[in-house]
Symmetry: C3
Subunit: 146 residues, 3 copies
């Protein structure tokens, strides 16, 4: 993955990240946020992938059900945010993928193996966003007054 | 719903809104825009919902057809804008939802019952955007020279 | 198509473009970028269309497979970026479309015939982004260190 700071001041940085073939996007974006101390940001991305693991939060089991897709797909949208959970940046993103027959699938981003590229625009919010665990669901939700 | 101003000057405010369980997103975002006098903005959101009413503009009847979905779904993307119609903020947003089998559905946002959360980033444009009614369709469209 | 500059300084312009009935979006956005010398930007859009040509990059033929859809559809999301390829602005966008039965389809934006409107928010990054051709795929990919 390559990255560049495209908008400069300390208060509101905008980064462009360009993934390489076989990069795993969740890990790469999360690592970038940790390395650059990004604790409040929104992001969008487009590109393509050769594999993905999508999550669906199922209230019946109070957990994510995961489904693997091993095929070439267009990344039609990837929208998400970064907030601080227990002091570290936590990525929360959802994505829509396009299959060979043009049908769309999607879910919570668990894993995305890029091929050949994924172009990410990451914009700091810039206030830090904090997450706390919601007791009812076990999910880390943004807590603006936490 | 909780909200916070994350980017500060008067010319270009950025807000983060965090919906609570059972909040209805269309009403909440619209009310927020009215309360904070937001008359030109773009927004994105991700989260999850337990019910939605999706619109499809059908030229044959010159109106929206509405379909209800009552099931837990991931909000894969929600993209839209806020403009002024007859002097008040008007929200126009489209969304993509992910079902338990990972298939995607979507339409014009009419109603969205959040569960457990929806994270919205709302950025002022900052010039006011105005809508006027298009006589052919009856829709309120942005009129940049109106 | 109408357009307006909504955020003013030279370093980080934000434009709103509003397409008219029967505008072809790829051509209109590309032409706008050329006319206004936009060589690094991200964009989102929502609206509706009466026809689209969607691309799917198929590694087996190292090229896009194209599929035409001739029906009224909601433009649920359109996410992309503009970078410079051989010195000229190149638009790369993916879109998700909603059909009458609320099912979602999508792909790489090749052609989109707007009806009745498409609202585009285009934000400069502001650093110029450059694309170079990837020898393995023949695709023009963003090259941050090119």
């Amino acid at each position: 993955m390559e990255s560049t700071l495209v908008s400069g001041n300390d208060a509101l940085r905008t980064f462009v990240l360009v993934m390489d073939k076989d990069d795993e996007a969740f890990e790469q974006i999360s690592g970038f946020a940790r390395d650059h101390d990004v604790t409040g940001a929104s992001l969008t991305a487009v590109g393509a992938a050769k594999a993905a693991t999508l999550g669906y939060f199922d209230p019946e089991i109070t957990d994510y059900r995961l489904t693997d897709f091993d095929e070439q797909m267009e990344v039609l949208s990837l929208v998400g945010d970064i907030a601080a959970k227990d002091g570290s940046p936590a990525l929360h993103a959802h994505l829509v993928l396009g299959r060979k027959d043009s049908s769309a699938i999607g879910g919570h981003l668990k894993k995305l193996v890029v091929w050949p590229t994924l172009e990410v625009v990451l914009t700091e919010t810039p206030a830090e966003l904090r997450k706390t665990v919601d007791p009812e669901t076990g999910l880390a939700l943004i807590d603006l007054h936490g």
